[in-house]
Structures are given as C-alpha cells and as structure tokens.
Symmetry: C2
C-alpha cells in the first residue's frame, strides 16, 4: 500500500540551467537517488549535454509552460540551490503558492550565500549539506515522512 | 491628477544580492532613475556597502517577510535579471501570482543566457537592453503607459 503511494509520487527536481551548469553532475546523482522514491519529472536537469544556454531547439515558451505544468502536477519539489538561478527561484515560489512542499538543498562548503528569500521563508525547508551522503540521508527522511506519503 | 497617481506609485526594484553584486552600481543608477516615477521600496538593493553576504545583522526571516510585504504593497516590479539570482526569481513569481505587472531588464551584451522561466513567460515583459540609455527610454515608456498610471 505504502509502496503504491511511493511509486506514484511525482517529484519536480529543480537545478540551475542557464544560471550555470557547474553542478550538473551533482544534479544527475540526486535525480538517480530520487528515482527510488518516485518519478522525476525533470530528468533533463541532470543531462550533461545541456549547457548554460539551455535546451537546444526548444522554444522558451514551451519550456516555461511545460515546467509550470509539471510543477502543478508534482507532489513535491526538491531544489538544489547552491548555484544561484532565476528559474529555480521562480519555480520555488510557484510551488509554494500552490501549497506544494519544497525542500531546498544548499552546500555549506561552497563560497555562496543562500538567498534570504529562501533561507528566511517559513514555507519551505532548507537542508544544509556538506557531502552527498548527507543529501541521501535527508532524502530518505523526507520520503519516509508520512505527511508526504499519505497525500 | 496624473501627477498625483505618479507620486503614489510604489515600485519594487529587484536585483541580485547574494547571487552576486557585480551590477550593484547599475542597480543604483536604475533606482535613481525610478525615483522620478514613484517611491522605490527597495532602495537598499543599490547600496554599494551591501556585499554578496547580504544585509548585515538583519535576520533572514525579517528580510523575507519585509520584502514579501513590500511586493504585496507594490504597484509594479522592475527587475534587473542579468545576474542570476534565486531571490529575484522568487520575487518575480510572487508578483506574477499577485497579478502585479513585472518588467525584467536583461543586458544582451553580457555572457549570460536569460532563464527560460523568465524569457518564456507570457505574464511578464522582458526588456532587452545594451546600454543605460535604453533602460531610461524603456522606463519612460512603461511609466507613461496609462494601464499602470490608472491603477
């Protein structure tokens, strides 16, 4: 029964595309990890062939409308927020407005400072991490949270 | 009559803080320009003393809640979106959700690519520019738009 719920979970993973692709390998690792918990709607975010000019030969309006529809249909949003990105910020605020749970992962070993709009929001959860093991543990805890499973 | 409207206009200016402060001088110039059209709620965004760690000695929750309140009270949002920023993306989506007009200024001379979430949205206006003169002309056009004046 619980497994059925898990199989049906739709996960929107958000990571920087045009803001910078330096963490693309990490996004791929996170997406692979997320797949054991549900369907990742945004697998392309971890695609190494996508550079910071974004998806090739796809009109921007199509990308925007497709991603907004995915957010509307998702059960939760997992965002990697270490590399600053307009799109990720936009996606997070959209999800919050829809009442969809949002978890933001931030690498405290980086030289970045996380936006006060994210760090200071009560409507999302920030997970600070220093290595991938901490991401895995946090995801395991998030997906074993009954509030998400019993949607 | 029209001048009364203009005097009362509340403008939310959005620019990168923790995403990077390389355009802080430009933000200050834009804010100075905006002041002739109304009250700029977010003057601190152009403050050169604010580095990319953000406002000093101000709790993040305070910053988030203050900025959200300002957006709720604003008549329009002018965002400079050349430097990628989670906070600016978050602010833009929040304003759109509230039905507040959003204008995003992007410098096409930069080496950046504007997020498809911004470029592909029908619910905001992107203004591409190459120099400050073009920003000034665009602002003049925006603030002489009767739809904004006759709020």
């Amino acid at each position: 029964m619980i497994l059925t719920f898990m199989d049906d979970l739709k996960i929107y993973f958000a990571g920087s595309i045009r803001g910078g692709r330096e963490d693309a390998d990490l996004y791929l690792q996170i997406i692979d990890e997320l797949k054991q918990y549900g369907t990742v709607l945004t697998e392309h975010v971890g695609d190494n062939s996508i550079r910071n000019v974004g998806e090739q030969d796809v009109p921007e309006k199509y990308i925007h409308d497709r991603d907004m529809e995915w957010i509307h249909n998702s059960d939760l949003v997992i965002a990697e927020v270490t590399v600053p990105s307009l799109g990720v910020g936009y996606e997070i605020a959209t999800a919050i407005n829809l009442g969809i749970p949002v978890y933001c992962f931030f690498n405290t070993n980086s030289d970045k400072s996380l936006s006060a709009m994210i760090r200071g929001s009560k409507e999302l959860t920030v997970v600070d991490y220093q290595d991938f093991g901490e991401i895995k543990s946090a995801l395991s805890k998030i997906f074993n949270d009954t509030k998400i499973r019993d949607k």
